[in-house]
């Protein structure tokens, strides 16, 4: 030991005796904020969490996290209109993370590798009837069976999938993908009875001695519009056309096909018609492109494939090979008004794509049930007015998408589970939203959105091959790593590094950090330099 001169020479690191934490007027606090993607996901996916695993290349972990909420990632990765990407904060930097394409990649990986789902709760002895094997019914069945309940699905049609099969064309959703994901759910022990139409729900419940029911029959009845037509005019509806694509006899639409409507279904029909050999596929829509309910990327793809669209037009009359169309104009409030100007369109067939209604006949005689605007009313717990009967998907008031339907299934399953157990299901309170203003975007490396490979244009105009290609592993990883991890620590070590007082304790991989309040002076650098907004400065008491 040195004989250290008094006071002049000091022992190393001895300043630990000086607790500078009492300088603080504000204290940093770690928190988790709600990422906008999660917030926007109708299926209630924890997108950021599964992207986190995907970022490190652990796709199975990512997929397992994903299917905690959604049993159909390969389907969803193709057909979801991804409101998550619309909400994604990265959109304000360069372009949104391609969440949907990563989801599809994970779903495809699972199918390719044969990853299996596993039930997670002990059997309860309860038996639930699910009516309809569409996205909502399948989702509910999946969650219920994982919660330990026995589930039987009654499906009126010959195949499972509902609108995923009969409403979405193959070029958007290859059937082998759908079949694989449905089978995986059935492998959990869900009983599927096809061609089993439920005429009276209460009868079916009693007959099967079911403890609860989830109704998810969808909306399959095409809406009609009155169009004066000659006897020889060929008028079909979109549901009919798309459904017949799944059967033996393909619809005979002719060379010139006109589709009437402005939703995604209208686009699907027009693109299907093109693939069936129509030389002209024309969509007639009474308003403008901006007002069109169909998603813009679908419109764009359709236009690229040669589909034509007549904006601001209504069909006044249908003849054998001609249609009379009236031009419209938008008034101040954006509604189309007739102009009195007419023109004639050549058409071998007219397909009406004006929306669908729900067949509610199975509910006749069920007491306490409320129906409004043609759909069944449900409470926040997805239960109808009749105790034990829950409903979701297209037959309840909501946006009619696969994603919403899957979300309904999950939500309903949780409430059904609670109802069966005689408990209350209380969702966890949501964290505050991690808006863009909470981020320090400087830290994110510049990286453009990965452009999904798009099938050769010629090829997709004549076949039903899938239009959107998938990501390969390299670009899926790249895309996943574009995630900003808004609102949730991703262990970038910034707080640990930027603290001038070494007052951040690093706990090692997966264990995040904590603040050493003995030394933290409350400068706020950790919070300011946290890329993802996972630290908040709170005022100190007194």
């Amino acid at each position: 030991m040195m004989r250290k001169p008094f006071a002049i020479t000091l022992d190393p690191g001895s300043s630990l005796a000086n607790h500078t934490g009492n300088w603080r007027t504000e204290r940093p606090v770690y928190l988790d904020r709600l990422p906008p993607c999660n917030h926007a996901c109708p299926a209630g996916e924890n997108i950021q969490a599964w992207l986190f695993h995907a970022e490190s290349g652990n796709y199975e972990a990512a997929w397992r996290q994903l299917v905690e909420d959604n049993p159909l990632p390969a389907v969803m990765g193709r057909v979801c209109y991804h409101p998550c990407e619309t909400a994604c904060n990265r959109g304000q930097l360069d372009s949104a993370v391609g969440i949907n394409s990563v989801e599809r990649f994970l779903g495809d990986q699972a199918i390719r590798n044969g990853w299996k789902l596993a039930p997670s709760a002990p059997a309860t002895g309860k038996h639930v009837l699910v009516v309809g094997a569409g996205p909502s019914g399948l989702s509910a069945a999946y969650h219920l069976v994982r919660l330990g309940h026995r589930v039987t699905i009654h499906e009126a049609g010959p195949y499972a999938g509902g609108m995923m099969r009969f409403g979405i064309p193959k070029y958007r959703l290859p059937r082998e993908v759908l079949d694989a994901e449905v089978q995986r759910i059935l492998d959990l022990g869900v009983e599927l009875k096809l061609n089993t139409r439920v005429d009276k729900i209460l009868d079916s419940m009693h007959a099967g001695n079911f403890d609860a029911t989830f109704l998810a029959v969808g909306a399959h009845i095409a809406k009609r519009a009155f169009i004066p037509a000659g006897a020889s005019a060929k008028i079909l509806d979109a549901v009919q056309v798309l459904r017949s694509m799944e059967g033996e006899g393909k619809p005979m639409l002719g060379r010139r096909v006109v589709v009437y409507g402005g939703g995604n279904t209208a686009i699907d029909v027009a693109r299907t018609a093109k693939r069936l050999g129509a030389s002209e596929a024309i969509i007639v829509y009474r308003r403008t492109r901006e007002k069109m309910p169909a998603h813009d990327f679908e419109v764009e793809e359709a236009l690229q494939e040669g589909v034509m669209i007549k904006w601001l037009s209504t069909i006044k009359q249908a003849g054998e090979s001609t249609l009379t169309v009236e031009k419209m104009r938008l008034d101040e409030s954006g509604f189309p008004q007739p102009t009195g100007e007419f023109e004639t369109l050549e058409a071998d067939s007219l397909v009406l794509a004006l929306g669908q209604d729900v067949d509610l006949s199975l509910l006749e005689g069920v007491a306490g049930l409320a129906v409004a605007d043609g759909v069944v009313q449900v409470g926040a717990n997805m239960m109808t007015g009749y105790a034990g009967i829950f409903a979701g998907g297209d037959m309840v008031p909501a946006e009619r998408t696969v994603t919403v339907a899957v979300g309904h299934g999950k939500k309903a399953a949780r409430y059904i589970d609670a109802w069966l157990r005689g408990t209350d299901y209380a969702p966890l309170p949501k964290h505050e939203l991690a808006g863009f203003d909470k981020l320090n975007p400087w830290y994110y490396a510049d990286a453009p959105h990965t452009v999904q490979p798009v099938l050769d244009m010629v090829r997709r105009q004549s076949t039903f091959d899938e239009v959107q290609g998938g990501l390969d592993e390299t670009n899926a990883l790249f895309e996943a790593r574009r995630c900003l991890s808004c609102g949730n620590c991703f262990e970038c070590d910034n707080c640990y590094g930027v603290c001038p007082d070494n007052a951040v304790i690093k706990h090692g991989p997966g264990n995040r950090f904590s603040i050493n309040y003995d030394y933290c002076k409350g400068c706020g650098l950790c919070a300011a330099e946290c890329p993802c907004g996972a630290i908040r400065m709170d005022a100190e008491e007194n």
């Binding site: 000086n18 970038c492 070590d493 910034n494 400068c523 706020g524 400065m537």
Partner: protein, 337 residues
Amino acid sequence: MSYQPIKFYQTGTFTVGNRLLEPEDRSVQANMRRTNSLNSGHRACQGCGEALGARYAIDAAMSATDNQLIAVNATGCLEVFSTPYPETSWQIPWIHSLFGNTAAVATGIAAALKIKAIKGGNDRVRVIAQGGDGGTTDIGFGCLSGMFERNDDVLYICYDNEGYMNTGVQRSSATPPAARTATTMAVGEQPGNVFGQGKNLPLIAMAHGIPYVATATVADLHDLEAKVTRAMQIHGARYIHIFVPCPLGWGSASNDTIRLARLAKETGLFPVFEAEHGEVTAVSKIRRPLPVDDYLKLQRRFAHLFGARPRTDVIARIQAQADRNIRKYQLLQEAPQ
């Protein structure tokens, strides 16, 4: 740029760490076992850029030398806040002698180590001298220049906070034009510091032809660490000039320290580069070009330039300095091909 940036791993090499990077590509500061050469309990102000810069630099040097390091410290904030009797924050062998002799003390240590090595002692110990801008560009300049000229085996690190902060924010030869200090008050026709000729220590260091000169900021840790590491791989006189914002002296928010360092670089006011034997070998390009206003407005020392009657003429002169730096050091990225 002094290191190979990772193009895209979520945050690439911008953040301190990155769980997706290989461990060898992560910073010293990300390491759970970093030395914390400057320990907790020091008395630096909240958000002190110098405390941060010193730990960044010395930890990196410790890592580069396998902890075989001795540091000499000039009088100033860093010395005062780190070693008030009876406690020191330093975990390394450290000496403070005077304000103006730091480089010379380091020369003496290096000489002693050389002889000890010849006599069979530890031949791996290296020396760092460190001080603020006052101790470097003003009072310590003579000793520093002597050390450079003799090419003594010392890395000198200047933590530049652009003034005498320890004594109460007076002007140094590193104080920028128009900045208010206690000796260049924001009064009169030309408020704040004069537009002098400047005293660019990195360029002066380069004029000595020494093996290595670099500038860095506390906003780019990977760059800073790479430069310290590079410097420790070289023998002879080396100089690193680190830009360290001072919340107290600049009148900035304590949580803006790193942001200000980033803005100083992004506006072009503080060029970040490295040079060997008197020639610039690399510059850190500006990533998001910004006007100097963005930097100046965050600091009360420049508040007199804005306010009710903004001094656009003065701001324009400062912008011209930034533009000159951008031209001189070619700080802008080439347009993508």
